[in-house]
């Protein structure tokens, strides 16, 4: 669990109203407010309950497979000829991504609250699979909302969710991606608030979700920090992670925020480029607004209508970002940069061929940023990157784009 931050720390947020500076908050319908306050209370209790922490840690070790390895990517490092590159191997977790860290934590909370039904939204399907997995493990029915476009482009994950016993509901509203799935999950929640737990997959949404999801994911950064100290005897120069909603990124960033010499870089989906609306670079090209329970950077028009965005990666195809990232950007502690679809696709192929690791398209964006940065850095410098998910789910999408018959 996340250590208690020091005074004047970058790690002390949010405040009691769930705010990180102007970002965050609780912008939800009144129907949900009592439940969100209950959840906050239950989360406060659980955080300080040794029995809860023990169960979480046991499941982490024996069910998820923690700690995940820290891997020195020797051939990629040689190929790029600059900084030493380390991957935090979250793609080796049970279910194939970091998403399971958060799902295990939240389902334990759902059980504590006496909820009997789980709902979740998913983009790439990694969170949907992780939710369906923990629902199966704890014997609760699970409904996963997924945009119709994503159901099509992430078919292997849809099949996995169904095998796990979850009901996958395709959402056709809007452009049928993550934003629309989240709207529909919120509609379900507001209707079934008495018995239903909404297992949000990213560090966004109304307070306490951004804080809670971050704390469940911070295990990534805590382990990585210890592992790099053991491997190199020092902290990395740069920590890099891909950002959609931003849960894998905040998970690895957070334990490093007070380490002054460590540069923090979040990689947004630049899609087809930032000129038009065919991207999901909320911080780089968006502005602050209110959506899905929090104030954060959003892609929106002059009337405050939310834009659809685009990314090759279903997991990054979201017009917003977690509120803590917005805050870290505005105070200058973290930097956010865009990577285009084609750059991510090249990185996907390079890593597969050089290291024998097929990454998901989401962390492929982070790899592309590593490819840009490493050659400009000294050989004595270190990059730590969160390899947040494996790419099995993406082989059909990539095969189609590359014109490979499958």
């Amino acid at each position: 669990m996340n250590e208690t931050p020091k005074p004047n720390s970058f790690r002390s947020g949010p405040d009691e109203d769930g705010r990180f500076g102007i970002f965050g908050g609780r912008f939800v319908a009144e129907t949900l407010m009592p439940l969100i306050l209950d959840l906050q209370g239950e989360w406060e209790k659980a955080k300080n309950d040794p029995a809860f922490q023990k169960e979480l840690a046991d499941l982490g070790t024996h069910y998820i497979g923690r700690p995940s390895p820290l891997y020195y990517a020797e051939r990629l490092t040689e190929h790029l000829g600059g900084a030493k590159i380390y991957f935090k191997r979250e793609e080796l977790n049970h279910t194939g991504s970091h998403k399971i860290n958060n799902c295990i934590g939240q389902i334990l909370l759902a059980k504590r609250m006496g909820k009997t039904r789980i709902i979740a939204e998913t983009g790439a399907g990694q969170h949907g699979v992780a939710s369906a997995t923990v629902a199966a493990r704890f014997g609760l029915p699970c409904v996963v909302y997924m945009g119709a476009t994503d159901v099509e482009r992430q078919a292997p994950n849809v099949f996995r969710m169904k095998l796990l016993g979850a009901e996958v509901k395709a959402v056709t509203a809007g452009s049928g991606t993550l934003k629309d799935a989240m709207n529909e999950a919120l509609r379900d929640w507001v209707t079934n608030v008495e018995d239903t737990y909404y297992l949000i997959g990213t560090a966004a949404g109304p307070h306490p979700y951004p804080e809670m999801v971050r704390d469940f994911q911070a295990v990534i950064g805590q382990e990585a920090r210890e592992q790099i100290l053991e491997a190199e005897g020092r902290l990395p120069d740069v920590v890099i992670a891909a950002v959609g909603g931003g849960s894998n990124a905040i998970g690895i960033f957070h334990p490093f925020l007070d380490d002054e010499g460590v540069q923090i870089v979040g990689v947004e989906a630049g899609g087809h480029g930032l000129d038009g609306n065919e991207h999901c670079a909320s911080i780089t090209a968006g502005s602050p607004g209110v959506l899905h329970g929090n104030r954060t950077y959003l892609l929106q028009d002059q009337d405050g209508q939310i834009l659809e965005g685009h990314s090759i990666s279903a997991g990054l195809d979201y017009p917003g970002i977690g509120p803590e990232h917005s805050w870290l950007n505005d105070i200058g502690r973290a930097e956010y940069v865009p990577i285009m679809d084609d750059e991510a696709l090249e990185a996907f192929q390079l890593l597969t061929k050089l290291e024998g690791i097929i990454p998901a398209l989401e962390p492929s964006h982070a790899i592309a940023e590593v490819i840009k940065r490493a050659p400009k850095m000294g050989k004595d410098q270190i990059i730590l990157m969160n390899l947040s998910g494996r790419g099995d789910k993406d082989i059909f999408t990539v095969g189609k784009i590359l014109g490979m018959g499958l």
């Binding site: 939800v28 319908a29 129907t31 407010m33 009592p34 899905h292 329970g293 104030r295 405050g304 939310i306």
Partner: protein, 279 residues
């Protein structure tokens, strides 16, 4: 100064009948047609108008109102144009209270102070902002009250005795009791449960209590009206608009009259509500 809202509820109380509160989506399917609808509402018997502000991501709305919002946005509706609707309406009606209903982001982007000034100038009487619970009062509620615009809050079956005072604090105009947990356009719950809930709220406030969510027919309106100070009808009205459009979603000569005819029926139901209650 007595507000338009207070004056309207006082008048209805004197008449001994509940209010008919009608929702429609501003700009659905186009500006002129929705202005026609707005003007037709009081003539058909509506006492208070809820003017919907379209939003791309209406998280508490069912499919009927989602689609209406999409039609309006496709037709070029913006928050500025929704204010224009009220302004145009006020040229011929200075008595019917107008409550703007929607989500916060378009107002936040418009600028809260500028929005409130423009809303007052356009003749707006109140706001219902779905995603601004009392915990977020500093955003819009308190600035609105300071300028004399009512902030009408939704209370729901999940709002228990302990929370009710929090929700009613800073609420003005009327209280909107959402008769069920859920999204707009769901089925109507048992009227007997509703009268209990209304009584519970009235134990905490002197404000009129209007009830909505699920009211679809004149009979529903009559049943709810027997238990509450007002009946809110939204989805069923928006469905009348939708049902009158061409396949491409354009207005037809029947669009405004479809709404008028339907609202006239509701008005009859509301006007007979207390007769039932008195029996």
């Amino acid at each position: 100064m007595t507000s338009r809202m207070d004056a309207r509820f006082a008048k209805l109380k004197a008449e001994g009948r509940p209010a008919l509160v009608t929702y429609f989506m501003g700009g659905d399917p186009d500006y002129q047609t929705s202005l026609g609808i707005m003007k037709a509402l009081p003539e058909a018997g509506a006492d208070v108008i809820e003017l919907g502000m379209p939003f791309s991501d209406p998280m508490a709305d069912g499919p009927t109102i989602q689609l209406a919002g999409q039609r309006a946005l496709k037709g070029g509706q913006t928050l500025a144009k929704t204010l224009d609707l009220a302004r145009d309406f006020r040229k011929s009606d200075s008595d019917t209270p107008i409550v703007m209903m929607g989500y916060y982001n378009p107002i936040y982007i418009y600028g809260v102070e500028k929005f409130l000034d423009d809303a007052i100038e356009a003749g707006i009487d109140g706001l219902i902002i779905v995603d601004l619970p009392p915990e977020m009062d500093d955003e819009l509620c308190i600035p609105a009250l300071a300028k004399g615009i009512n902030f009408i809050r939704l209370t729901t079956p999940t709002t228990d005795e302990k929370r009710l005072p929090t929700v009613l604090n800073n609420t003005s105009g009327f209280v909107y009791y959402v008769s069920m947990n859920g999204i707009t356009g769901s089925a109507l719950p048992d009227p007997s449960l509703i009268s209990g809930a209304v009584a519970r709220i009235k134990g905490h406030t002197d404000l009129p209590v209007c009830v909505g969510f699920g009211v679809k027919t004149a009979d529903h309106a009559k049943a709810i009206g027997a238990a509450a100070d007002g009946v809110v009808v939204g989805t069923a009205i928006v469905a009348q608009v939708a049902g009158s459009l061409t396949r491409d979603g354009a207005a037809t000569p029947d669009t405004v009259s479809a709404v008028s005819t339907f609202v006239r029926g509701l008005a009859t139901g509301v006007r007979s509500a207390r007769l039932v209650a008195a029996e």
